[in-house]
């Protein structure tokens, strides 16, 4: 049985209500206020997120809330364990950074309402609320609604400029996402039919190794993979993430694709910890490895900066799935299994910061130059030193070089692979790092090259925006300095894992 609701559980409700209420208020008050509302909601939301994290950290227990006082299976529960709390704080910090950055681009005129700014702020706030709903959701159908909310907020962000290419990208994204939702829903109904509940905690106690459970986990995982753009279901991602306005790209690449990944982790490790077979996990890892190699190779051949970063996202998503063959059976709770799990989650977080910073840096460069052709970047390092530096810091994390969050994450995956005797994953991690080094170096070397003649900028970039980008990139780096003890936060509420196994 799930425990009772815990004190402070109302914070979970606030984490959803605040951003969504902000979005509705923006719609009603109109464009002139949308930006101000968003900028008011953001610090409040960060306070809520940090409070959730602090409570989970201090009490060393999960935060739980039964909506309407109806306990599962009849009602719907919200639940925040260490992993949820970490994701919520990550999302809050990133959304704030992106919001501050986007002010210059989506600032609102005082007299008439304009389409793009109004829509952008509403969508940004809703993405945030939907992400929080995914991170604390505990009921498979409630999570379906949250995922759809996330999709409907994310898709229009892609086509905000209304060009034919971005419209095509948005439509393709939507179709992939709908395909994914249908498979997910099909899995959910099979579970309900077999076990009479959709609550994850109850399900984890009832589930047995039988055909219905097998079919459900395969269908749901496949659906979520389409939404997470894991190779070979990645086709929609590069045009969508590269075509969106840069703050939107940062949200999409940094946060939105992490939501379906988060749910796969939940399903595999929390709902059905004893179910997945090693062989199936190897397949997932294999797809991850293919994504790393393919994404990185294609990124190397890109002509445009934003597309390069988007293909790098395809590759970095691959790393997330390397944790499955290493952390799933045969021995959950084994030190290497915990290391792999933690490494995978840390990769999700550090990539979120690094990739958001890199997309926004690319946005600034494109704004200054009027284009984002990699061949034409020479001299940018001189005019936008902070931006290029931030891009390089983000790149550090992608390559997995110290000091960075990416380094710790990849080192953990590497250690786990070696310890588990599955050396082939270690080869993939190292190769992926080298290839990432290649495409990041390509950009940095270009930017630092001598232009020969002074660059003609079409607009100047305020230092404030560059600093925001730098701060996000620094967050990715700082994750590498976090002592390992706080990583125990991630383990709170996870029955199967040996706490301290990461040491």
């Amino acid at each position: 049985m799930p425990g009772s609701a815990t004190a402070g559980g109302f914070l979970l409700v606030l984490a959803i209500v605040l951003p969504v209420a902000g979005a509705m208020l923006s719609l009603v008050l109109g464009g002139r206020y949308a930006e101000r509302i968003a900028l008011t909601v953001m610090p409040t939301g960060v306070v809520v997120a940090v409070a959730i994290g602090a409570i989970v950290w201090r009490t060393h227990n999960v935060l739980q809330y039964f909506v309407g006082k109806w306990d599962p299976p009849l009602g719907v529960a919200f639940r925040a364990d260490g992993l949820s709390a970490t994701m919520i704080v990550t999302a809050a910090l990133l959304i704030c950074g992106i919001g501050l950055f986007a002010r210059a681009q989506f600032s609102l005129p005082r007299c008439v309402e304009e389409r793009a700014p109004l829509v952008f702020w509403i969508l940004l706030l809703t993405v945030w609320g939907a992400l929080n709903a995914v991170f604390i959701g505990c009921d498979l159908f409630n999570l379906y609604v949250a995922l759809e909310l996330l999709t409907f907020a994310a898709v229009p962000l892609v086509s905000l400029d209304g060009r034919a290419e971005t419209l095509t990208a948005a439509l393709r994204y939507l179709l992939f996402a709908l395909f994914g939702s249908i498979l997910y829903l099909l899995g959910a109904v099979l579970l309900y039919g077999a076990y009479g509940t959709l609550d994850m905690v109850l399900l984890s106690g009832r589930i047995r190794a039988e055909p219905a459970a097998w079919a459900a986990i395969s269908l749901m995982t496949s659906g979520l993979l389409a939404k997470a753009a894991l190779y070979p279901l990645h086709l929609w991602l590069p045009p969508a993430h590269a075509g969106a306005p840069s703050p939107a790209s940062a949200v999409l690449s940094g946060l939105v694709v992490k939501a379906p990944f988060f749910l796969v982790v939940r399903l595999w490790f929390d709902v059905m910890p004893r179910l997945p077979e090693h062989a199936v996990a190897q397949v997932l890892g294999g797809l991850g490895a293919a994504a790393i190699i393919f994404g990185s190779l294609v990124a190397l051949r890109q002509v445009r900066l934003k597309l390069l970063i988007a293909y790098s996202t395809v590759a970095q998503i691959g790393y997330l799935f390397l944790m499955f063959p290493l952390a799933v059976k045969p021995e959950p709770g084994h030190p290497w299994s915990t290391a792999a799990w933690t490494g995978g989650v840390l990769q999700a977080i550090s990539h979120a910061f690094a990739k958001a910073a890199m997309f926004m840096a690319a946005g600034l460069i494109a704004e200054a130059l009027g284009h984002d052709r990699i061949a034409g970047l020479a001299g940018v390092g001189r005019v936008l030193p902070i931006t290029v530096f931030a891009f390089a810091l983000g790149g550090l994390s992608l390559m997995g070089l110290p000091p960075s969050g990416g380094f710790v994450a990849k080192a953990m995956l590497l250690t786990a692979a070696v310890a588990a005797g599955q050396w082939w994953w270690a080869v993939v991690v190292l190769t992926g790092g080298l290839l990432a080094g290649g495409y990041v170096f390509l950009v940095i070397a270009r930017s630092l090259a001598d232009a020969g003649e002074p660059l003609s900028l079409i607009s100047t970039i305020s230092p404030g925006r560059q600093v925001v980008v730098l701060v996000l990139a620094l967050c990715a780096v700082l994750l590498g300095f976090v002592p390992l003890r706080p990583l125990e936060l991630l383990q709170i509420g996870r029955p199967d894992m040996a706490i301290g196994g990461v040491r």
């Binding site: 609701a5 209500v17 009603v28 009849l74 969508l123 159908f141 609604v145 309900y192 039919g193 079919a215």
Partner: protein, 311 residues
């Protein structure tokens, strides 16, 4: 049972037609029929609430939307211009989908009978909600958070649709213009049908607390009436920047949130209702929610602003 077998055959036949039809328009017509047949299936499965939603929303409004789209996109280049997937691809997909079907069929045959159910729990607690239709009790009490998020989903879909307007028509009127013909038959029909339809919509919503029906079904009927009236040119959509329109759109979710939050104070939890006032509070939520859903559905069908605002 003979009736059920006949119905299943029809449903499958129409579904195959919808997937296989050469013309998109024909496929859409097939889809509308498919929806109506599914509504019958829902009646056979003892789910009249779902049957009404399927007929009104799944078949009616979705069908209308797709019909409109198929005629609008009719001038697109013919099938010849579009690359057909190769025969091998088609074969692979066919094998894959057959496997999915076969697997699902096997699972259906393996399903427990009787299946695990929440019906006894839903009935045991229904007194606390003041409702007597268990489906409405699930939607408005036990799983009210789903319904609340769903109203937000609809709103967001509308923001998404509006975001597809061209910049110069922002603030303009949604959808194409329909000129009224005061002596036309459509105008005549609309004048008779719309008042009756509004009455029926309100009735379906009202009866939802005790009998099949509810806010989604009622709101869909109301939205359909607005669409008919606008097709006849009797009403026109307001400019999307109108404050009252925006208020009508968010009234439902906003009140839902407000009463949910008030639950912290009066019933000790988000979206909890004190037993003595549960029915009243649920009604207070349902009225604006019906209004907001109806407005949102109608505007979703109308599409993004297309006509520049009169300045």
């Amino acid at each position: 049972m003979a009736f059920d077998i006949g119905l299943v055959t029809l449903v499958l036949g129409v579904a195959a037609w919808t997937i296989g039809a050469r013309e998109t328009f024909a496929a859409v017509v097939g889809f509308v029929a498919y929806g109506l047949l599914l509504a019958l299936v829902w009646v056979r499965l003892a789910a009249p609430d779902v049957a009404m939603t399927e007929a009104a929303l799944g078949s009616g409004l979705t069908g209308g939307l797709l019909l409109g789209a198929s005629t609008r996109l009719a001038r697109t280049d013919g099938p010849a211009a579009i690359e057909k997937p190769s025969a091998i691809m088609r074969l692979a997909a066919a094998v894959l989908c057959t496997l999915v079907s076969a697997g699902l069929a096997a699972l259906v045959l393996l399903m427990l009978e009787p299946a695990p159910t929440l019906a006894p729990r839903a009935m045991a607690n229904i007194a606390a909600t003041g409702l007597s239709n268990p489906v409405t009790a699930v939607l408005m009490a036990y799983r009210a958070i789903d319904t609340l998020l769903e109203t937000v989903v609809l709103l967001l879909a509308l923001v998404g649709v509006w975001s597809l307007a061209r910049d110069r028509v922002w603030g303009g009127l949604p959808g194409p213009y329909h000129r009224a013909d005061p002596h036309g038959l459509l105008t005549f029909t609309a004048q008779i049908l719309v008042p009756i339809g509004i009455l029926i919509g309100i009735y379906i919503f009202w009866v939802g607390s005790v009998a099949p029906g509810g806010e989604f079904q009622g709101a869909t009927v109301l939205a359909a009436m607005w669409i008919i009236a606008s097709m006849a040119g009797l009403v026109d959509a307001p400019p999307v920047t109108r404050r009252w329109l925006r208020l009508a759109l968010i009234a439902g979710p906003a009140l839902f949130f407000a009463i949910g939050l008030a639950g912290f104070a009066i019933a000790g939890g988000f979206l909890a209702y004190p037993e003595s006032h549960a029915k009243l509070l649920i009604l207070m939520i349902e009225v604006p929610v019906t209004l907001s859903i109806a407005t949102t559905l109608a505007l979703l069908v109308a599409g993004p602003p297309e006509r520049a605002p009169a300045r």
